[in-house]
């Protein structure tokens, strides 16, 4: 095998993977939820937050400074490790590969966004099916709803932020309306739920 990377395990080292999306109003909810997670959280987390133009790593640095888990703005083909949070870089879509690596792309914007939540969610559904836990937070558009439905259809677990508690309810509401959400929870409840799902089972 050729590259340095392939000396690492050539198959995903995690059992489940968390994918999360947010837009307007997502910034705060992301920090609230992710700062609830303990250092020994056992799952990888991939995050798409729609960024304002000129964000230039602002969201990434903000998360990195507020939560306990290591936060990474990944390069293409990077291995996904448990207990790490991967934030989609500005102007790239982020996808996951079946072999447990990250793939970036500069395809056209989807739902006026790059990164787009649907792109991440659909690739997760395709690569990991029932091993996916999807969380959709606050936003003023419907990006993520279609991808979430794919995850539900593939047997994954889907959670929408309770629109009554969201700063911008359109996004989670769209997921709920299309029947994509298994659970509807407040930010605090999502944090607790993830802690439980991601604690090491002995």
């Amino acid at each position: 095998m050729r590259t340095k990377e392939t000396t690492e395990p050539s198959w995903p080292v995690f059992h489940e993977i968390v994918v999360m999306g947010g837009s307007a109003g997502g910034f705060k909810v992301f920090s609230a939820i992710l700062s609830a997670l303990p250092l020994d959280f056992s799952l990888p987390i991939l995050v798409v937050q729609h960024l304002i133009p000129g964000d230039d790593g602002l969201f990434y640095r903000h998360l990195a400074s507020t939560i306990r888990l290591p936060v990474i703005e990944p390069c293409d083909k990077q291995w996904i490790k448990h207990g790490h949070v991967y934030v989609a870089p500005a102007n790239y879509h982020i996808l996951v590969e079946q072999n447990g690596t990250i793939a970036l792309s500069v395809d056209d914007k989807i739902n006026w966004s790059r990164p787009s939540i649907d792109v991440l969610f659909e690739s997760a559904a395709q690569a990991f099916g029932e091993q996916v836990i999807a969380v959709l937070l606050s936003g003023a558009n419907a990006d993520g709803a279609a991808g979430m439905l794919k995850i539900k259809e593939a047997g994954g677990l889907t959670i929408a932020l309770d629109p009554a508690t969201a700063e911008y309810p359109v996004m989670p509401q769209a997921a709920i309306d299309s029947g994509a959400a298994d659970e509807v929870l407040s930010a605090e409840e999502i944090g607790l739920r993830l802690v439980k799902l991601g604690s090491y089972k002995i």
Binding site: R2, T3, K4, E5, T6, P74, C75, D76, K77, Q78, P89, Y92, L95, V96, E97, Q98, A103, L104, S105, V106, D107, D108, V119, E122, S123, Q126, A127, G129, K150, A154
Partner: protein
Amino acid sequence: MKNPEGEHAEIDLLLETIYQRYGYDFRSYARASIERRIRLFLSNTGYPSVAEIILRIVDDQEFTFHLIHYFSIAVTEMFRDPLVYRAVREKVVPLLRTWPHCKIWHAGCATGEEVYSLAIVLKEEGIYNRATIYATDFNNEALDRACEGIYEMGKLQEATRNYQQAGGKGSFSEYYYARYKAAVMDSSLKERVVFSSHNLASDSAFGEMHLIFCRNVLIYFNRDLQHRALGLFTDSLVHGGFLCLGTKEDLHFTDFRDQYEVVDNKARIYKKKNWP
């Protein structure tokens, strides 16, 4: 959509069929992206399944090229990532000046915006007339557009800020003129450019390059194909020549890291060492 496992196998077969019949090799492309493009193709064309596409491909060339088109993501921008052009000005141009002539290769140039952007930098730095620029892609339609050099006016106006951030020394609007709603790039910018078809998955190296730009192309390849392309670049570069990748493509994670030194990590500019 049907169960992923069955579909993964069908897609293998589809890519194999395209390769066997038409010689285009997408078997080593990054899988998640290819699958996404195929799903898009299915939903845009109304084909019910990958199996149906395979049947069509066998004897319908036009249809196949239409599909292949979906695998070429010719999305690009003038002065995308201004910091890269700034780094080229500051760290690469001074060395390019030391060669009497310089050869530059844009591999995967798409519709050409990147080629014109760099040509502008070379002009402003006074070395354009010493350069020969090869702009290649395997998507001939995109290449034709690159060669025409006609873009949406709005897009060029948007790029003005990028141009300035890239260290632009003049006024960006001097480099194009308006025709209806379109902007036509000044033809002197392509005087020294040769546009030609080249496939990184199957064609061979280009000789004696001093600078190679290959940005946001390797992300569409799997590691094996990346390795092939990087091998081509390494063979094509003179000692001390430069390689510039996309901002999220890190040479450090490949076997080639020892053959290059880092010139600018953020801009992903590398320099081929004199001794391997």
